[in-house]
């Protein structure tokens, strides 16, 4: 099998990270699987994004001009299938994003192709794709294969694959695709940005949470400042919210929010009651800091530190100065 087609994702005139990440994923298996690697940009002004997609590993960028700038699942599906029929890639990549979810499995069902979503590891064995995803709240991983499938469509997990740092030398080709049959079902109205102050634990990829270990409300601002400095979303355990020190949206845990998209979680002065663990134990990398070496948080943490959180906070502040 050979040939990889990537459907680029963009919003409001800018590429989204997932596009580069898909290119990185494709580049990482290109040798074993076989090229070429194509990227299709679907937009009313696709040329403006073509240079940004021209990253190391890409052989050809297709610019597909359509009537509007905004994502339309039906149009994306149609373009993927038509370019696919022409270039015959063995693998078609989408992001497992809100947009990607709205068309990747449609393409798979339309072609009868192999399909897996939320894939975070990509491998090739005997020139066949092996995709890894997880299930049951990241408790188990699944390796999936697609025997007999001459086409495999995958939705790749975001913020997982690395974006190639070097520029590529791809040819930029304009593709004329007739999407008139599917255009116009969706009517775009507008985008509304989320209020900037909104904190959303469930979406944050990096969270620094504090617990009772901070002892006093007066100590709160310095930890909030530290979180900002680290670039982390500021979370907390239930007692902090119960004490009225932080508003509810900050709370991680059973009665608060689950850190469902978190990659790195730092727990400062949190002992790790089950209720709190409920919201964060699945996170890939957890750093726990607590003075009690027996604290249950260490059972779920990747890295542990038994230290006074104030001393550590001082040192971290210096590190990130």
């Amino acid at each position: 099998m050979s040939g990889i087609l990537i459907i680029a994702e963009h919003i409001q005139g800018a590429l989204r990270d997932i596009t580069g990440e898909m290119i990185g994923a494709a580049a990482s298996i290109k040798e074993a699987y076989g090229g070429p690697v194509y990227v299709a940009i679907i937009s009313d002004n696709p040329e403006s994004l073509s240079e940004d997609t021209n990253l190391a590993g890409v052989d050809e960028v297709f610019t597909v001009k359509v009537s509007g700038p905004d994502f339309d699942a039906a149009v994306y599906e149609e373009v993927a299938c038509q370019i696919g029929a022409e270039t015959k890639p063995g693998l078609i990549l989408f992001g497992h994003t809100v947009n990607g979810m709205a068309c990747s499995s449609a393409v798979a069902a339309r072609l009868g192709a192999g399909y897996a979503s939320d894939v975070f590891e990509l491998g090739v064995e005997a020139s066949e794709i092996v995709a890894t995803r997880s299930a049951y709240g990241n408790k188990v991983n699944l390796e999936m294969v697609f025997p007999g499938k001459g086409i495999v469509v995958l939705g790749l997990r975001g913020a997982t694959f690395l974006i190639p740092e070097e520029k590529g030398s791809a040819a930029i080709t304009s593709k004329d695709i007739d999407v008139s049959a599917v255009t116009g079902t969706m009517t775009h109205v507008e985008y509304q940005e989320a209020p900037p102050s909104d904190i959303d634990i469930s979406k944050a990829d990096f969270i620094m949470s504090i617990g009772r270990g901070i002892q006093d409300k007066e100590n709160l601002p310095r930890f909030e400042e530290l979180a900002k400095r680290l670039g982390a979303t500021f979370g907390c355990s239930r007692p902090i919210v119960d004490s009225g020190w932080l508003p509810k949206p900050h709370q991680v845990g059973q009665s608060g929010k689950v850190a469902s998209n978190c990659k790195l979680y730092i727990a400062l002065g949190i002992s790790g009651a089950v209720q709190h663990q409920f919201g964060m134990k699945h996170v890939d990398t957890i750093i726990a800091v607590n003075t009690d070496p027996e604290a249950p948080i260490f059972n779920v943490a990747t890295y542990g530190v038994t230290m006074d959180i104030f001393e550590l906070a001082d040192a971290l502040e210096r590190q990130f100065n």
């Binding site: 499995s105 990096f206 957890i286």
Partner: protein
């Protein structure tokens, strides 16, 4: 002869007038009483019959001893006793005079109101009335000058700053009543003094108060004439006031004189310990209108004298929650009097009269009913009103989630039941399984003691103690369900009943045991008092009395007396509800602890705040937690070492409160069993017991070696399995029929040559117990595409449409606990490690469908699940919530179906149903593919969108939709209908289906469709391997703060790519 003339100086007309007044007063009295009785007649019947004899016996004892009135307020009790005595004697005296004057004398000429009898009675009356006057004066002083918070009707605990009009009226009522009493008493004495002054009887000393007053009158120079006129006017005044008082009794506070006697007689002998069952034929759950209250409840309302003892004792009120048991009862009384026992359409009982927040504030600790002198059972009233709230879904979302979790998993932690006895693995010995081995004791562990890490340590200590004492015990292991004590107290009666059923069934499937023991007072209470109403339960004992017995009999020997100063917290469910005050104290004394009692101890113990399901409801902002209030009380005792608990929830609450309340340096919180373990030096006991220790060590080592070997073998096998190129695996015989079915399917679609069938993927051995089954994928390429088609269910028919039809896909999603094992082919989880629940996203999709149809006002919601019979649990749940019909498609070979195949099956049903909209959840909580909706739309050729957080639709035409993109950007757009929409959680708050509604939903139609034609090889993937990602216990960073911070910084930069 010593006597006094009753109708002194009255002529016949006056006498007739007086009798006329008397009869009028009696008539008003009778009318008042009748009004109450006719009100009570609108109440519901009692759930269980009343034992009048024992009720009266208990009432007479309580009234005569004034036991309930003297508690925690001796002075008020004495004052009331004085008033009671005065009026009781007055009543008896009046009755005797009536007996003589109106019956015995006219009929038989018998008189007895004379001589020594008269003198003796005169003396007691005089002294009795003196006591009453003193009592009344104290009561007035107490109300006027003591400023007792319990007598303040201002609802400052709920932030009110103005007195409600009704509360002002209560205040006036109180003063009228007490002043009325005083005036009657004082006119009586004045009259008596005047009579003595006029008559100068030689036996005047037998009326010492009247005599003394007469002396004072004489001293003040009262003339005989004056005394005579006082006597005659006083007689009328006193007599008429007495009659007025009698007439008014049923109309105001005075009614307690009668209602309390009935209220005390009708008391439930096991209040709160055993809550009343729900009537089987009840139209709606619990109490939703006044006529749902029993006549006894109404009698209780009428008995309240506003003494405020409950108001003082209530932990919710103390912590600043909007509940005062006193005000609750008074509000109910006011409403019930207004409605005369009949429900109203204009004013809803819950909402307009009583706030839902008030009802949810209760911890069902029983402190109010315990101290209520008139026998009001507030918690039962509250819980029955909560049943209605639960039925309406009017509850905190977290509570709703927890109840759902308990329904799904049988425990409030949402853990897999296999993990229930995980805590026993750290013990040095194996704990028996009662399902396999008989034992003397069955230990019912309960949720907190099983799953909460801190409490697991206590469970381990107690297990060690039992073992050391040679007490034989066993567990139910995963067959145990939460006992349901607190579930019942939240008002989810149906769920409670289902838990009772499950536990009782587990009890019937055990080997013999003679006694149940538990460390959990909540389980203890319900197993002891409530379960027997549903089935046979062995006698149950709390571990505090088990430990007391083991220490007393020397089976546990204290080798290291602790010499600590401790305070002990009485758990509500052990102490107040079941009288278990002494055993834990005996244990503490025998291990050498000095007990410093908190001011609120034993029956006045102050609840930790976790009861009544409150542990599952977040605390309200700006309130002090009851547990913090309690630890402050302990800290104020002066130096103590340990705050001792004997309830798992207490341990959790007070461990927290000790930290948040700022008492970390003052004392530690420990469980009784932990202290005993220390005092008997449990950790060194096994050394004295060498032979069995050696055996245990050998066993333990053997088990560990076996574990290690097994793991290694697993790894080797896994590696070999992985090394097999899957697609080349040799097809097994058993897979042939499946291949044939594919061929058949292909015949139906002749465009697919049969030669395209790929070799079957099968790595399992023939004897494998794998449920995974076999997926075979049809070969395809760009030159040979195999578009997925809707499945064909030829026999399936849908009823004709009546308005818009929304189809909602529902998954009975699996939950995997922390522990699990894989099938022998390593491609799936063994089914026994999975528990199931309604997929959260589908719940939101269903809610959105229901809301949409409700808004349109016509149409139906049809739900579909692809799953085995077990999936009907989730279908019943959504039918209970309001879906109209359900369809379930299944065939065992679909166990290995991927989401595209599932979409094909749904599409088959959708083609028959022709819905106007299809809602799916964005993803399922188990596999989280996020695929089905989009694939389904493609197969059906419908427009679609994923991650919808807003839907506007009028039943036809365009859909106005909102999509939520990453980082919170909202995308507003429109699609034509019909369409497929994948709904995101958070778009709504799904309603709650009570167990009662789920049972009722069994009447709704549920079609089962044969899915054997679904699997056709067009699926998307084959799972080659399932494995646990590498996980390690935290790798500890050591070093100076600088060094550690540098290590952390590296992790951050590494992970976040900074």
């Amino acid at each position: 002869m010593e006597t006094r003339e009753v109708f002194w100086g009255l002529g016949t007309p006056q006498l007739l007038l007086f009798y006329g007044f008397g009869i009028a007063a009696m008539a008003v009295f009778a009318w008042g009483v009748w009004r109450h009785i006719s009100k009570y007649r609108h109440g519901s019947p009692l759930p269980q019959s009343l034992n009048i004899y024992s009720g009266i016996k208990r009432m007479v004892g309580d009234v005569l001893s004034h036991r309930t009135l003297r508690r925690r307020d001796t002075m008020a009790g004495l004052a009331h006793a004085g008033i009671f005595l005065g009026f009781l004697l007055g009543f008896i005296g009046t009755a005797l005079i009536f007996l003589e004057t109106d019956i015995l004398k006219p009929l038989f000429g018998v008189t007895f109101w004379k001589g020594w009898f008269y003198l003796g009675f005169s003396l007691s009356l005089d002294l009795g009335h003196l006591a009453a006057v003193l009592g009344i004066i104290y009561m007035m002083w107490r109300r006027g000058f003591l400023g007792l918070s319990k007598l303040d009707y201002m609802r400052s605990y709920r932030g009110e700053t103005d007195m409600r009009p009704a509360a002002s009226a209560w205040k006036i009522e109180d003063w009228c009543f007490i002043s009325f009493l005083l005036v009657i008493e004082l006119t009586g004495f004045t009259l008596e003094a005047a009579r003595i002054l006029v008559d100068q009887p030689p036996w005047a000393a037998w009326s010492p108060v009247g005599n003394a007053l007469a002396g004072i009158f004489a001293q003040l120079g009262m003339s005989m004439e004056k005394a005579n006129s006082i006597r005659s006017s006083g007689w009328w005044l006193h007599g008429l006031m007495g009659l007025a008082f009698t007439a008014a009794i049923p109309l105001y506070k005075g009614k307690h004189i009668l209602s309390v006697l009935c209220s005390l007689t009708a008391r439930d002998p096991m209040p709160l310990r055993r809550l009343p069952k729900e009537a089987e034929d009840a139209e709606s759950a619990g109490v939703s209108t006044v006529s749902d209250f029993t006549w006894k409840d109404m009698l209780h309302f009428d008995s309240c004298t506003k003494c405020g003892r409950c108001h003082d004792a209530c932990p919710a009120r103390t912590a600043g929650y909007p509940l005062s048991p006193r005000d609750l009862i008074l509000d109910l009384r006011l409403h019930n009097d207004k409605r005369q026992g009949v429900g109203s359409n204009d004013q809803s009982l819950i909402g307009d009269v009583i706030d839902a927040d008030t009802l949810w504030a209760c911890r069902t600790c029983g402190a109010c009913q315990e101290i209520c002198p008139v026998g009001i059972e507030h918690p039962s009233i509250i819980v029955r009103m909560r049943r209605q709230l639960v039925d309406q879904g009017n509850m905190d979302p977290l509570l709703q989630t927890t109840l759902g979790t308990i329904g799904d998993t049988g425990n409030s932690f949402g853990e897999n039941s296999r993990k229930r006895s995980a805590w026993t693995r750290e013990l040095e010995f194996k704990v028996k399984d009662i399902r396999e081995e008989a034992a003397d004791n069955l230990w019912f562990v309960g949720d907190y003691a099983s799953f909460d890490p801190r409490n697991q340590k206590v469970s381990q200590s107690f297990a060690g103690l039992m073992k050391a004492a040679g007490t034989d015990f066993a567990l139910l292991h995963e067959a145990e369900r939460t006992a349901g004590n607190d579930v019942r107290r939240t008002g989810e009666e149906g769920l409670f009943e289902s838990l009772v059923e499950q536990n009782l069934e587990s009890f019937t499937k055990t080997q013999p045991f003679t006694r149940i023991i538990t460390t959990d007072p909540h389980s203890y209470n319900t197993l002891k008092n409530e379960y027997p109403e549903f089935g046979d339960v062995a006698p149950i004992e709390h571990y505090s009395s088990v430990l007391a017995d083991l220490l007393r009999t020397g089976r546990l020997k204290v080798t290291k007396p602790l010499n600590r100063r401790v305070t002990f917290h009485d758990p509500c469910h052990l102490g107040r509800l079941n009288g278990g005050y002494e055993a834990p104290r005996e244990v503490l004394r025998s291990i050498g602890c000095e007990i410093i009692e908190m001011p609120r101890n034993r029956d006045n113990s102050f609840c930790c705040g976790a009861g009544g399901g409150r542990i599952w409801i977040p605390d309200q902002q700006g309130t002090e937690k009851p547990s913090e209030n309690r630890v402050h009380e302990a800290a104020a005792l002066g130096p103590i070492d340990v705050f001792v608990t004997c309830c798992p929830k207490d341990l959790t609450m007070f461990e927290d409160a000790r930290k948040t309340g700022g008492h970390e340096d003052d004392f530690i919180v420990q469980d009784l069993a932990e202290l005993v373990a220390e005092a008997v030096e449990l950790n060194s006991i096994s050394l004295k017991d060498m032979p069995s220790l050696a055996e245990r060590i050998t066993d333990a080592v053997a088990i560990r070696i076996a574990d290690v070997v097994a793991q290694r073998i697993d790894k080797v096998l896994e590696a070999r399995l992985a090394a097999f190129p899957v697609a080349q695996a040799v097809p097994q015989l058993e897979t042939v029929p499946a291949v044939e079915s594919v061929v058949e399917q292909d015949v139906a679609a002749p465009s697919e040559p049969a030669s395209d069938i790929t070799p079957v993927v099968e790595a399992a051995s023939p004897e494998s117990s794998s449920p995974t089954g076999v997926t075979e994928l049809k070969s395809m390429s760009w030159d040979n595409m195999t578009p997925v088609q809707p499945a064909v269910f030829s026999g399936y028919q849908a009823p004709p449409k009546d308005g818009p039809r929304i189809l909602v896909t529902v998954k009975h999603a699996a939950i995997l606990g922390d522990e699990h094992a894989f099938t022998s082919d390593g491609r799936d989880i063994l089914p026994e490690y999975l528990e199931y629940t309604l997929n959260e996203w589908d719940d939101a999709a269903l809610e959105e469908a229901l809301l949409t149809i409700e808004k349109i006002g016509s149409g139906e919601v049809v739900v579909i699940a692809i799953g085995p019979e077990d999936a009907e649990v989730s279908l019943r749940k959504v039918l209970a919530k309001g879906a109209d019909r359900a369809v379930r498609v299944w065939d065992d070979n679909l166990a290995c179906a991927d989401p595209v195949i599932i979409a094909r099956a749904i599409a088959g049903i959708a083609q028959v149903e022709q819905p106007d909209l299809i809602f799916t959840g964005v993803q399922s909580s188990d596999h989280a593919h996020g695929t089905t909706g989009t694939a389904l739309a493609r197969i059906l050729g419908l427009p679609h969108s994923a991650v919808i957080i807003g839907v506007e639709w009028d039943g036809s035409g365009k859909l106005s939709l909102v999509r939520e993109l990453e980082s919170g950007t909202r995308h507003l757009f429109e699609l034509p209908s019909p369409a497929v929409l994948a709904i995101q959680t958070g778009i709504n708050v799904p309603r709650y289906a009570t167990m009662r509604m789920i049972k009722q939903a069994k009447k709704k139609p549920l079609d089962v469709v044969d899915g054997s034609s679904v699997l056709d090889g067009t699926g998307g993937y084959v799972i080659r391997k399932m494995y646990v990602p590498e996980q390690t216990k935290a790798e500890m960073f050591d070093g100076s703060p600088e060094e550690v911070a540098a290590l952390i910084a590296n992790v951050i930069r590494d992970k976040m790519g900074e």
